[in-house]
Symmetry: C2
Subunit: 649 residues, 2 copies
Amino acid sequence: MVTRVVEVSRSPFAIVTPVPIESVLVTGGFWGRWLGETLRYALFHQHRMLEESDRINRFRWVSGRAREPPSRSLAPFDDSDVYKWLEACGYFLARANDAEVRGIVESVIDEIVSAQEPDGYLFTAHHGQSSRRWRNLTFDHELYCAGHLIQAAIALHRSVGEDRLFSASIKLADLITRTFGPEGMAGVCGHPEIEMALIELYRETGVERYLREAAFFVDARGRGRLRPDPEDRLNSTLYQLLGGPEYFVDHAPVRELSEITGHAVRALYLNCGVTDLYIETGEEALMAAMERVWRNFVERKMYVTGAAGSRYISESFGIDYELPNERAYAETCAGVANFMWNWRMLLATGEARFADIMELALYNAILPGTSLDGSSYFYMNPLESSGGYLREPWFRCACCPPNVARLLASLPGYLYGVSDGGVWIHLYCSSRASLVLDDAEVKITQETDYPWNGSVKVLVEPEQPSTFSLFLRIPGWSVGSRVKVDGRMLAPRGPYYLEVRKRWHSPSVVKITLPVKPRLVASHPYVRDNFSKAAIHRGPLIYCLESIDNPVDPREIVLARRAVMVERRKRDLLGGVVALKIGAHALDTGVLGPRLYIDLEKYPHARRRIRALAIPYYAWANRGPSKMVIWVPVADFFTSGGNRRRARS
Amino acid sequence: MVTRVVEVSRSPFAIVTPVPIESVLVTGGFWGRWLGETLRYALFHQHRMLEESDRINRFRWVSGRAREPPSRSLAPFDDSDVYKWLEACGYFLARANDAEVRGIVESVIDEIVSAQEPDGYLFTAHHGQSSRRWRNLTFDHELYCAGHLIQAAIALHRSVGEDRLFSASIKLADLITRTFGPEGMAGVCGHPEIEMALIELYRETGVERYLREAAFFVDARGRGRLRPDPEDRLNSTLYQLLGGPEYFVDHAPVRELSEITGHAVRALYLNCGVTDLYIETGEEALMAAMERVWRNFVERKMYVTGAAGSRYISESFGIDYELPNERAYAETCAGVANFMWNWRMLLATGEARFADIMELALYNAILPGTSLDGSSYFYMNPLESSGGYLREPWFRCACCPPNVARLLASLPGYLYGVSDGGVWIHLYCSSRASLVLDDAEVKITQETDYPWNGSVKVLVEPEQPSTFSLFLRIPGWSVGSRVKVDGRMLAPRGPYYLEVRKRWHSPSVVKITLPVKPRLVASHPYVRDNFSKAAIHRGPLIYCLESIDNPVDPREIVLARRAVMVERRKRDLLGGVVALKIGAHALDTGVLGPRLYIDLEKYPHARRRIRALAIPYYAWANRGPSKMVIWVPVADFFTSGGNRRRARS
């Protein structure tokens, strides 16, 4: 079987091709635990939640198999939670021959296909009410759910050869292509998703109609078609409250976009579809728009964690530099969407800056969305907390848990790539991969304790001695990286793919050293919430200060530019982390009393020395409710005292 | 005529009584311009807008006088905009015998009373649909509009003896008392307002039924009665999005409140009614709750400008210390509501801390809501702007413009007070007042250029020499205040009412000096947006840096603790202000390039000297679109270099 999340082997404008999930084995290390028992546990836990929340029962009810009507659903997109969970199982089964998972997957597929209407329509919220079909595209999520069904079906078709769900998804896709298009309805879905799904279905089937349909949906967007029925007061009010056409990225045609706006997941999913379309068509106007939007996102609107979405209620991007920390929305799904989009940009360009964002989002915007044991989830991922915020086992709007699951289940498929005459390492991770280059096998093995440690030993074992390039990602965050090949020491600067081209014998060894010393990062002064503060980075990880580890409220801790940060590998802490012991100071807030505002002259200085402890942000809130900060004030942000000369550099 | 906004002359638990608007003449100075031609212009401008937006036409349509149906209203509370404008006219007419204003007032009253239904019901949104009456109290604002009608009617009844609107309001109030109560419906209005209106009607008529009804509404709140009809999807969704019972302050009975939550104007209007109820009943549990809520507000949730409301869409308070600057909601109406509530707290207690908040909100949360010429308005009052935010002549939801108008029109009534054996000066302002103390007249004259200058000469002229106290407010912001009486120099510290008790001969002179030197104020470290920044205060005014006055984007300006701030009286600038020339530094953001995040070591230092100019915040955005900041980074916030010793004090 060949399970790729994005199958671009035959796509004319892809630079890099992913390798099949089946060909990569994660061999312990950081990701070993996450992708093994924890993921399996999460899949069973989520299945139970899907049952308990009546999401699977809704299909049973539609097919006449349920004895009792399901509880009322909160949202019309509930079906998609089941589909995303199935997609996760698809990737999981690509590597694990797990009869128990396979069993529940089959049973759920059975419920779904039984609920499909004769003409292919499948959307439990509107079942039997054909007058409601495709009526409220702005809010109803019919095409969005169809997209997730298609993605799930493709994943299972690729990984275990599943056919029933795949046939059902083709039947639905064919209904959609018959319904929408130049000669049919001119609609477009309020929530992008169908675009990338149809392109993947084209890749899986070779049927060009699906590609044309995706292009149609991309073209149809941004022309003000997404409007609520003016007689529908609920949706008219919602439309206005949420932000109008910008919320739906319907304010400008895709090729004219220059900023990222609106609902974060909508915008980022749309970008996935647009980038997929570029990969198939090579239309420069699409890539130029994506490049503009990417720059606006990464240079003005992305959290330091790789998270996206600044505003509550509308779950949306704000204006440039609007990045509040405690009121960050930073939906877990938007982290997943960010990863998915940058993955496609990487495949389209082979540029390391996209892989940097993938890695950033993976560790700091997606992983925080799940508890260490896989049993509870964050919907929002604030970058600061004054306490009381905890993960939950499930949500009424439950998009995030299965989205994390499908991303983690597919992770082996993102580590490596293949191009004409080259193999690529995108993400460092203890693993073994069997790649196919020019019809010959190349085995790659990574031995590393990354991200705790920046040393990666790469073993390259071609079937036969042969000449090809090994592309090694040098992250933008690394300073002083070293790569040792054949006794030569290279010093590449990231973000960059270092191309090591040579005749490879088996086994060859490449040693990579990416310094992961902790360092302080500041943000642009227009991000007012972060002014004169720093975030602690170590390798790809963002750290935070959590109240349980610190002698004072983390909001009272002040660092110095030259703060001593001692790295401590703590195997018993939070599943094993490198924590940072930091010499810091505490504000004496007692002086303030109850005052909210105080003459600056009376403001308490931070002279009390304390020992602070920082942990990786992804691991926060796993020990009960706590206060937390990522951005820590730096006392000598401008004036650096004894180290003035250095700090001025 | 005797026009008091709050008439507590006979209220048993009032400490201070307001003086009639008729008895106070503002004699130029800061407020002279605002309360004269500018206010009159605003009243005509708003009348035109009320006509153009069909708000008055809605009454005509209901009474059958309109030829064409009015445009569809955005909101059911549109009637209240007309009522608030009438209330403003009522206060204006208390001082100005202005036939033209009187004329349009009469014509509007005519339209309103003609629209009243025979049983007293008056609410144009539901006219002729008796089945909709009182059905959706959570969202419909029927009782809210009734409250504003009652307040307008009382104002005009007091100031010009107007009877028709007053009779109409009594008819409506009687319908309400017949409808709601222990033996009637148990409802309560989603938007508080009726409570304070009914208590004022009780004060005006002596009819205790109105007081009992207000008490009933106060008691009925916080018991979960404000719920949307579950079948009403629009209101159920809105209810959830806005924040549920807390949004309506319906989550806990009033006497159990300990925090200020929910929609800012709702919460603060409710507090007005509760405080009014205390003033009439003396029930300690009410005042204890108000004290707790006040502390939570002032110590955790109030902007440095006195503005209220941190969150968009829900227009509501956030959690403790959630005070974003650019995304401040800070609705102008909430500034007015804050003033109104603290006014009642002052009347109930005679404590200067409440007058301090009134003054703060007046200059910095209410006045910014209008342009200098009275022709355009802010709904939100951000404390920072990255550009493009301008006042508008009117709004679809137009609560703010007439709210500013009624507050400014009534301002003369807030300057002075009378108590047993004492006269009070609450606000400093060039003015002449004729007060009645123990049936004898006392004339008080203030000569001052306040707030530009902190010197106030107070002339006290009793009809006959007599012994009484003069209570002089010493603001909490003043350091080193001096009061000179009979050659003696006193040095009181605020917030405080300095009692000068003596036998007064006519004329006696008291000289007050309140130092208004500019000073830097910091905020509690938990307000993360303001960390290591300072706001510039001068007297009661908050200053800001606006792009038009500064050589760089205001977000790039950095101050020093000991920044030299030179005060310049500029009579041609913004209607005449004291501006501050400040020696500051600019960040060299060019070093950052497009980067959003940068290693702290590479962060640009602020070494380029610039001359910054600060203007009073209320006057910003009067010269076209501009960028603006109130909170300015302080380079040596923690380490103060050469002035270390002093700064450590």
